[in-house]
Subunit: 364 residues, 2 copies
Amino acid sequence: MRGEVVPLVTIATAGNPRSEVLGRLADVSEDHGLEGMANRLRDLRALTASDFVEVERALASMPSGPSRVRQAGAHLLQLGGKRLRPLCVALSARCGSGYSEAARELAIAVELVHAATLLHDDVVDLGERRRGEATARLVYGNTTSIFAGDWLLIEALRRVQRTRVPGTLERLFDVIDEMIEAESLQLEHRGRLEMDRAVYFRVVEGKTAALFRWAMFAGGRAGGLDADHCNALETYGLHLGVAFQAVDDLLDLSGEEQATGKSLLADLSEGKMTYPLLAGLERDPGLRPTVQEIVRLTASGQAAPKALLAEVLGSLTRSGSLDDCRALARRRAALAVEAITTLPPSAARQALEAVAQSSVDRDR
Amino acid sequence: MRGEVVPLVTIATAGNPRSEVLGRLADVSEDHGLEGMANRLRDLRALTASDFVEVERALASMPSGPSRVRQAGAHLLQLGGKRLRPLCVALSARCGSGYSEAARELAIAVELVHAATLLHDDVVDLGERRRGEATARLVYGNTTSIFAGDWLLIEALRRVQRTRVPGTLERLFDVIDEMIEAESLQLEHRGRLEMDRAVYFRVVEGKTAALFRWAMFAGGRAGGLDADHCNALETYGLHLGVAFQAVDDLLDLSGEEQATGKSLLADLSEGKMTYPLLAGLERDPGLRPTVQEIVRLTASGQAAPKALLAEVLGSLTRSGSLDDCRALARRRAALAVEAITTLPPSAARQALEAVAQSSVDRDR
């Protein structure tokens, strides 16, 4: 499996001066005899490299003034990231008339919204590590992190408004509303381990997929595409978002901390329902007391013993729940690719296909 | 002094079905021989009563769905409030072409922004009482209160955008940014007791006056007024906002908890700089160790002994710092009135004058 890995980070950071992983991974693909993928990666890099130089520059130059709120916002933005949502905007716009200045502003905006939610999430989850570094809330405090998130959100909305691309601001309000509702739903179920599949998907679609949907819609609109094509792109965003979250769920259980930059088993410890856990508890109800014990220990401020965590991980592996989660991601990636078959063939459409396919195997 | 009191709450809740204080206070004014003020109150009530029925209805019908985030938002909205900011929008619009549907939406929006900041403030300040009731964060938790604030903010922005009144959305983004920066500045100075007047006014102008400015600007724009008139209204908002905050500072020290619905001496205990404290420390530097001790005790979770609080209050009274704060409010109210002399005479302009003048003596 690992041989086919084309981590998305390489694609999205093509223009990030601090990373030249794309070239390195094209080489790795070649070493593995995956010449086709290596070539596609190089093409993608050529396609989007310049798109991202300006996005990175804008994100890096966001903070202004000495205020701690600005510093906390800058702290997160400067840790980099996959920049997958801006990539969606850029490629979606390129499916139409191209990556205009408006599209670039929308690409920056979607990353700012994402960064705002990360700042707030880390406060809510008491997160300590993000992208391999201390979270803003540890460095600047919870309150400053909340205000920093508010600031980035307002900055995002301001940029979207300035583009005057029809429908994008209204839609972003709706999407932020969906994100808040999904966070609320997740919060209500936290630690109760009784979430069913319907609720799980409502949370994931609101918390993660909604913003991907918006990124695709906004790019399409900026590229002047008609309603049908924008809908197709949005459907792509929905499925990519769910696939993305499913892989995130997996990485929480089986990722390498050095690659993901997050603490392993954080979701599990925080009592957050993930897809493998959902499937695992369905298949092996006897697992519930162990999981409940982990959640109880973490909630009371104690670290769960490694043996307990290993027991859960072992059960999820044996019951095939991890494989199921990967299969879910693969299915959704396929649906994402299928959704955009109605678009005229283009390099950008091919790139979106590669993004969806490679996202399933990403390791960070 | 009390005989002249015309609490603003009476004006702003004229259309609130749960309060008929306006009539009561017109009677009280009459009892005190203030026939002129009683008549003006009755006129104001007639002028704005119907304006507010719909604002109240919209605020009361905001929550939808069973989510705890919506419930937390509704909790705050249903506690009522002075509705002073919507009143500003309504009167400002009436200085122009009138209180249109767009003006009403802007009036609702400004109260939603205000409510959003209260929800977040109570989390930041660990507030326990608001409008005489338990804060949303005590009932629903800190996280839910934060998301509820986010929700109300997005709902406000959405309404402003839908009105399509030129400039109002851009200006609201700027104002929210100013509010965040002011909160950040206040946070950085909290407990350090070394804020100078320049910083104090920067905090107040951002935290409180900016939204009043926006309310006046938005109403004026909805009423079709030209840039000069809108500027005049905005200047009114700036000064009214500072006057309003100065009275809030006073009420924290000398208000009656039953009237204000807040805990007395909360600002002082939280190490927040208020105008009387600023003036008092300038005049009596010997007061500093006592104030510092109160802040230290509160920060470490202990209640400050009443004797210490009484000592500070006594010093501020003796040094004339409380009177000074009232004088500041009076000056700013006069500047507010002066700012709108360039507007054509109208019942709405007179009402704005009455609002500014009576705000100085409000007791809640």
